[in-house]
Symmetry: C2
Subunit: 129 residues, 2 copies
DNA sequence: CATTTCGTGAGAACCGATTATCACTCGTGG
DNA sequence: CCACGAGTGATAATCGGTTCTCACGAAATG
């Protein structure tokens, strides 16, 4: 049976309080502030376990490492700042949801979709290029 | 100055006649049928050059190597078959285009977006799982 | 035709992300 | 409180994708 460890709690805490899905590296960086000796391998192991337990879900965005966010947040999409590479979770309703289950011309049956916005976040909007 | 080579022509030909954007590996496989001795390094080199010349554009999809398609096809999106991993170009109008240039709540300024559909293609629809 | 230089092809090298290894530590059942 | 096995941390190994290296072949120039 799996044990509860402070490392796992720290990782979940970091994910819960993040602005969006985080990469293993980002989780590691932030978790170090709660638990300075935590190792990167431990982060990967716990993310895999938490995903297996259904507590977190993996998020795959283009040109980016695998990110993780807490499960149970419903259908939503993401925004990546092209300057600082921060990824934000978007709350707005999905403009593409009506296409779920549809069959497009050419016989393509839609089972899911991924929508990502790119741009500048508030912090990077005014800053110099 | 850059020379015109049969390899470069073969690569462009392959991209022009593809069903969607191709990875370097896929370009290599298909180009071998036109020019059996072409090497993978040559494919990478020419894709980089063609992209620099503006003749092809790179397409980045989640969980996937960089793909390339001919430039000048206008705004469109893609569909990846989760079974055979083939990526198709979609002609349909974009349901998200109106968000270009918008500023979302939170101060996120949208400069672009990427929309990818996942599902089964016609060939994989009826086939066994 | 000779030259010069760029492009090619094969394989080695590299890269960032992720996983495996292994000795050590700590949480937990007894 | 103790023993033991799961979890940890540091590092090496691995992986797919991509780039580099280098000797050879082929296109433009005189």
């Amino acid at each position: 049976m799996s044990r509860r460890t402070v490392q796992q709690a720290a990782i979940l805490d970091v994910l819960e309080s993040a602005e969006g899905p985080l990469s293993a590296q980002e989780v590691h960086d932030r978790a170090r502030e709660l638990h300075p000796t935590i190792g990167l391998a431990t982060v990967y192991r716990n993310l895999a376990r938490l995903e297996g337990d259904g507590a977190v879900v993996a998020v795959h965005l283009p040109q980016d490492a695998t990110r993780y966010e807490p499960a149970g947040r419903g259908h939503h999409h993401h925004f990546r700042c092209v300057k600082c590479d921060t990824v934000y979770e978007l709350d707005a309703g999905c403009p593409v949801a009506m296409l779920e289950g549809a069959t497009l011309p050419g016989g393509l049956t839609v089972m899911g979709h991924e929508l990502v916005f790119f741009g500048h976040c508030a912090g990077c909007n005014g800053a110099a290029a």
